[in-house]
């Protein structure tokens, strides 16, 4: 088990202030970066093996490298703080308790790609978190850690907080840019990719909060230190959000050697009430559910793909044996139907049809042929939309159909939902 670094001081009263953050080493990574050529900073991030923590796991240094070096106009860094993937609450902790680490990461990213402005796009519901960030920015500017001539260098950098207003889709990078430009959060057709044509048509890097929070550590402690944590290709400290039927839900920092079993039964204290595990969603609602037999796989990008799912945003949602998997799929598809931005027909219409079929089965009115219909609708959404939302919304359906088909069949056979969990409505 590695010592926490991202969340080492999050329980310390006043730990979010500049004074406390500097005491814990804040802005040392930025200081080191400013003494380097921007290209060397990108090289260091590449060497660390840091992969994006927002869901896709794309190598961060490579993403930064796509930004054209010789473009004459402005460039931008956007920090994706929309954190809306069901089950995910890790960026919330970083921004509220370690805001200077996030700001430092944004500033280093700006320096590396040649941007002078960074925007933190935060979901509208996080008003109290936005206030923490705003005051951290004011503190950092007053101390010369942001603003003009940062830390005595010739580098100028401003960071602004931009609040969303309730839209899951704004967490998709091109929709985030649309929202930041004052429009509906709907995705853009790619290519061109944001690294070339992004915010206001300028080259833009979009990184998740946790990704950017790791960047100062890479600079301050060195890429070798970072790459030594966790398995090969899955390096660095990782935040895991464990929720659902566990004794101690919360955010846990660990390496990606950690298995789902260790997260559920070690860190989170096991299944509440000593019940049996039925299913676990390893990376937020957009990743397929796994059966108990799969929990000895490491919770890493590659480990979860091998297990038949994805690490996603590392949001581990745990369900005990009282949970109805048809109901769980219905709950999540309800979410996607509500959040579909409506731009692509397969996603907009398909989410509605999947929900109707799931509700019908859960009510006990389903027929066996509905299972095939449900799967067919799902397969006609995946891969047929402008953004990954389409693939995401079919994960709860295809995952439960693959591992828990017998529960769907039991609903149809018995003409009712066979589960009677006390925590549900009317049970």
């Amino acid at each position: 088990m590695t010592e926490p670094v991202l969340t080492a001081f999050v329980r310390e009263p006043g730990g979010f202030t500049l004074e406390a953050s500097i005491r814990h080493g804040a802005y040392e990574g930025l200081r080191k970066a400013l003494a380097m050529e921007p290209g060397r900073v990108i090289e260091a991030v590449k060497a660390s093996g840091l992969r994006g923590r927002g869901g896709a796991g794309f190598p961060t240094g490579m993403k930064w490298g796509f930004v054209p070096k010789d473009s004459p106009g402005p460039k931008y860094v956007c920090c994706n703080a929309d954190e809306s993937e069901p089950g995910t609450f890790k960026d919330h902790v970083l921004m509220e308790r370690n805001p200077h680490l996030v700001l430092e990461g944004v500033a280093i990213a700006c320096y590396a790609i040649g941007a002078r402005t960074g925007y933190i796009y935060i979901r509208g519901e996080f008003l109290h978190v936005a206030e923490v960030l705003e005051s951290a920015i004011a503190e950092a500017r007053a101390a010369g850690c942001l603003g003009r001539g940062i830390l005595g260098s010739a580098f100028d950098c401003e960071i602004h907080v931009h609040r969303g207003a309730g839209a899951y889709e704004a967490g998709e990078e091109s929709a985030l840019l649309e929202s930041l430009e004052g429009r509906r959060a709907q995705p853009r057709l790619r290519p061109p990719f944001p690294a070339v044509v992004g915010l206001y048509g300028c080259p833009t890097v979009i990184n998740n909060v946790e990704t950017l929070a790791n960047v100062p550590l890479v600079l301050a402690k060195g890429p070798e230190w970072f790459a030594a944590i966790g398995p090969e290709q899955n390096t660095g400290p990782k935040l895991f959000c464990v929720s659902g039927h566990v004794a101690r839900p919360g955010v846990y920092e660990a390496s990606m050697h950690t298995t789902l079993r260790e997260l559920i039964y070690g860190y989170a204290g096991g299944i509440r009430g000593g019940r049996a595990l039925k299913a676990v969603i390893p990376g937020g609602s957009s990743t397929p559910v796994l059966p108990p037999g799969a929990i000895d796989a490491p919770a890493s990008f590659d480990g979860m793909i091998k297990a038949g799912s994805m690490l996603g945003s590392a949001a581990v949602i745990v369900m005990d044996d009282t949970t109805c998997m048809v109901w769980a799929a219905e709950n999540l598809v309800h979410f996607y139907r509500h959040e579909s931005c409506g731009k692509c027909t397969p996603c907009r219409e398909g989410s509605d049809w999947m929900l109707k079929i799931l509700q019908k089965i859960e009510r006990g009115e389903g027929e066996m042929r509905d299972l095939g219909l449900l799967e067919s609708v799902a397969r006609n959404i995946a891969g047929k939309t402008l953004c990954p939302f389409g693939d995401a919304e079919v994960a709860p359906v295809l995952g439960t159909l693959e591992h828990f088909r017998h529960e769907y069949e039991a609903h149809v056979r018995e003409g009712r939902c066979p589960f009677h969990a006390g925590w549900r409505r009317g049970r």
Partner: protein
């Protein structure tokens, strides 16, 4: 006449269901809010003033409690876009309300992690206590109850957001108590976010 073999023309299904936004009272930003908006607009390039549209609408809702059609017209003028473009944005984002809500807007998270911890029962308890269904405002105009999707506090579920504040780890009994306490002492009744470890 109809070109459809089975459906006659103009009998409902062919009519647009678009709701006209509530026109509301005449609206203009207070001088303080207008000044705050101009300060926020400086964060974006001068020719990208439209980026200040979401912040402007947050300010409208802070002032008016919802976003009326007249407010949309005012925002359009201040930002330099058309009222239709403002309405396009307002109707997309769930946090912007097209109708006034009660003094306390109770927003129960209904998504999986909260639901696994009993969010359905919390909603039912609130509905019973207030004598309303989700989506409605009670007779006194004090409480509006809605179900919302994931609020990003899944380790403290079920979560109920009341106006801009959070109330965590809510049980059905706790939800009923919350209603009484909101009546007594307002938003001071809320638990707030557990990450705020400092004592106020």
């Amino acid at each position: 006449m109809s070109f459809h073999p089975k459906m006659s023309y103009g009998t409902g299904l062919h009519q647009s269901a678009r709701e006209r936004p509530d026109p509301g009272e005449p609206f203009a930003f207070t001088p303080e809010r207008r000044a705050r908006l101009e300060e926020i607009a400086l964060r974006y390039p001068p020719d990208r003033r439209r980026s200040a549209l979401l912040p402007a609408l947050h300010l409208v809702q802070e002032q008016q409690g919802y976003v009326s059609a007249r407010a949309m017209e005012h925002v359009a003028e201040v930002i330099g876009v058309t009222p239709a473009e403002v309405e396009d944005v307002v109707t997309y984002y769930t946090m912007f309300r097209s109708k006034p809500a009660g003094t306390y807007l109770l927003q129960v998270c209904r998504t999986l992690s909260c639901a696994l911890n009993g969010a359905e029962r919390v909603t039912d308890a609130l509905a019973r206590k207030l004598g309303i269904a989700p989506g409605e405002t009670d007779a006194t105009g004090m409480f509006t109850l809605v179900e919302v999707e994931c609020l990003g506090a899944c380790d403290r579920g079920p979560v109920v957001m009341v106006n801009d504040g959070w109330h965590e780890c809510v049980t059905p009994e706790g939800a009923e108590r919350l209603v009484d306490e909101l009546r007594e002492k307002g938003t001071a009744a809320l638990s707030g976010c557990h990450l705020r470890v400092e004592k106020p």
